[in-house]
Amino acid sequence: MRLLLVEDSRRLRETVALALKRSGYAVDATENGEEGLWMAQLHSYDAAILDIMVPCLDGLGILEKLRAEGNETPVMFLTARDSIEDRVAGLRGGADDYLVKPFALEELLARVDALCRRRYQKTTSQLVFQDLEVDTTAKVATRAGSLLDLTAREFAILEYLMLRQGHVVSRTQIEEHIYDDLVSPMSNVVDSAICALRKKIAIAPDSEPLIHTRRGLGYVLGKGRS
């Protein structure tokens, strides 16, 4: 899952971004409202976390412009403004969630997880495909009851494929949703990660392959409808 974080406090921005990355998210972070808007317009984020009081363009302004353009990326405000009026204004402005500083890390992760699920119309953190099960909250994946030992990046790719199961997902889409801006478009990190993931979910020599390649199109979990 790829997230946008707009927060003007350097330490908080870096710490939150790092925590999200450690939890398996790809995070693009900026301190500037205008830059945040530009990034949100440029990429398809699974969720955006916005501080309200940021320089150049405040969080409410970013949200207003995104919604006016038809961008439906789930947005959570992360702000020190805790009055009822502020919360109502934020939620009425089109935000999906509102978290007041200071906050608990686990709460932030749970809320971000919920936002990402909402993006794919999932109401539960349990994703199931045949004998493969993924718990997006606990960050646990099992196949036929056996625990899969996945890296954060591999888990993120699997989660994304599970969310889009039956649909062909292009390499670019995976890059956009799993990797941050630092990944070079020319690199083969996606292919390598898919290869590693296939090996890990094949828990036995006769395990049915679940991730299929659609040549020239991308990857699909299951038979696929391309």
């Binding site: 908080l12 710490t15 009081m53 405040d58 805790d82 500083k101 608990a104 890390l105």
Partner: protein, 488 residues
């Protein structure tokens, strides 16, 4: 007694009581005098009759102003009977009529049987003018006495002899004052009864009037009780209130306005303070929780950032404490002649990096005389804040002017993004031109501290907008003691 209503009621009732007592006393005395005067009139008539009888004159010598006799003039027999009837009381024991006569030596010639063994006091009369007096007999009987000089044997004496008092006797006629006392007792009883009724009615009437008159005060109290921290925008309506209360209402409205402004400022300050604290606390919490969640990935950076946050919070608290101390005047100022220009240049040097980044230039105009006498440490702190503020909010590529005059100095810079509203909030604690909180190292306390610092130095710091230039002006409130130019 701290109640206006009670004071007014007691005052009015007390005043009314005094008035009623005075009026009652006046009436009582008036009635008393009237009654005594009527007795005196009767006694004067009796005296004339007795003088007439004693003189033995003919009816035609009766005085014209003796009405009883003049009415009966011409009816001689009837007149004599009436005279006898009038004076007959003086011959009876319990009639309440008294008389006594004395010769020239003071020996009693005759007296009425009603006196028994007692005597009327011997009058001292000079001339023909009768004298009236009230006396008390030995048995306690109070009498009204009229004493006069009577010239006996009138018919055989010339008028000259009568005038000289030759052969004259002293006569005193008196009447018992019992009837007068009874009348006065009746009058007094009536007055007391009437007074009690009037007192009761007055109490009710005064109570009602005072309550009605003070109703606007009750309404004022009710309205005041209805105002709390959430309704400070309400005001007392000045229309249709008694003119005496209009100044009070206006003062209260003015007070409410000031309180509202003060509350707004405090709310803003509390909100800003909470906001200022939330971000570093959130940072600290995130760093700590991340370190706990991923202990193998936390290291020196985590600790260093935690320390930075602690130092930031400490600085914030110290600034707040400093502000509180300066605002309360709990500072010791040590004054001496301080050259301003070196201090300004030193402050500028401390901001040189930020100023260079924005291509700002410092221009100092010195139009002052001797150096001001002030505390150099406080002045340095103040200048640091002013210069830092100018560098922070100045448009890039513009000059920052400092003009030094005898009365103080001004620091001005071009700040096209600031308007009157922003300048009006300059000295509010935690106000910042940029609403975001993390983009600069400023916490929004600098100008508040600068103003408190100026006040501690006995100066006044103000801000104004001059076109696109923001001017921060410091004026020494009192004439500064100055050294001679050579001593600086």
């Amino acid at each position: 007694m701290n109640s206006i209503r009670r004071r007014l009621t007691a005052g009015l009732l007390g005043s009314l009581a005094i008035l009623w007592i005075l009026a009652g006393s006046g009436t009582y005395l008036s009635v008393s005098r009237g009654l005594v005067k009527s007795i005196d009139t009767e006694l004067a008539l009796d005296a004339q009759v007795l003088r007439f009888v004693a003189r033995g004159d003919q009816e035609d010598t009766l005085p014209e102003d003796a009405p009883l006799l003049s009415e009966e003039r011409g009816r001689r027999g009837g007149a004599i009977r009436r005279i006898q009837a009038r004076i007959s009381g003086y011959d009876q024991t319990d009639s309440g009529y008294y008389y006594q006569s004395w010769d020239a030596t003071g020996e009693t010639i005759a007296k009425s049987p009603s006196l028994a063994e007692g005597n009327l006091p011997l009058p001292e009369i000079d001339g023909d003018t009768p004298e009236f007096d009230t006396v008390t007999l030995d048995d306690g009987t109070r009498l009204r006495v009229m004493a006069f000089q009577n010239t006996a044997g009138g018919r055989g004496r010339s008028k000259g002899e009568r005038r000289r008092g030759e052969g004259a006797t002293l006569v005193a006629v008196a009447r018992d004052l019992e009837s007068v006392s009874q009348s006065l007792s009746t009058v007094l009883g009536g007055m007391v009864l009437l007074g009690a009724l009037i007192a009761g009615a007055s109490a009710l009437l005064v109570g009602f009037l005072v309550k009605r008159s003070l109703r606007p005060l009750d309404e004022l109290g009710d309205r005041s009780r209805g105002i709390d921290a959430t309704s400070l925008d309400s005001r007392f309506p000045v229309e249709n209130v008694p003119s005496e209360l209009v100044p009070v209402y206006e003062c209260l409205n003015d007070l409410l306005s000031r309180i509202e402004t003060s509350f707004d400022r405090e709310r803003r300050f509390s909100s800003d303070l909470a906001h200022e604290m939330r971000t570093p606390v959130a940072e600290l919490r995130m760093i700590s929780e991340s370190a706990l969640k991923w202990p193998d990935q936390s290291g020196e950076k985590t600790h260093r950032e935690s320390l930075e946050i602690a130092e930031q919070l400490e600085s914030m608290i110290q600034n707040l404490l400093k502000l509180a101390r300066w605002e309360s005047g709990e500072v010791e100022v040590e004054t001496r002649a301080v050259p301003l220009i070196p201090l300004i240049e030193a402050s500028w040097k401390r901001q040189a990096e930020s100023a260079a980044r924005r291509n700002l230039e410092l221009i100092i105009e010195d139009a002052s005389g001797p150096d001001p006498e002030t505390d150099p440490a406080f002045l340095t702190h103040l200048l640091d804040n002013l210069v830092s503020n100018a560098v922070e909010y100045s448009d890039p590529d513009t000059p920052i002017h400092v003009r030094i005059e005898d009365e103080g100095f001004e620091i001005s810079n071009t700040a096209s993004q600031l308007g009157e509203a922003e300048v009006a909030q300059f000295f509010d604690r935690y106000w910042r031109g940029d609403t975001s909180r993390g983009s600069s190292g400023h916490a929004g306390l600098g100008l508040s501290l600068a103003r408190a610092c100026a006040e501690a130095l006995g100066a006044a710091l103000d801000a104004r907008l001059d076109g696109e230039r923001v001017v921060l002006s410091l004026r020494w409130n009192s004439p500064r003691k100055r050294n001679s130019p050579t001593s600086s």
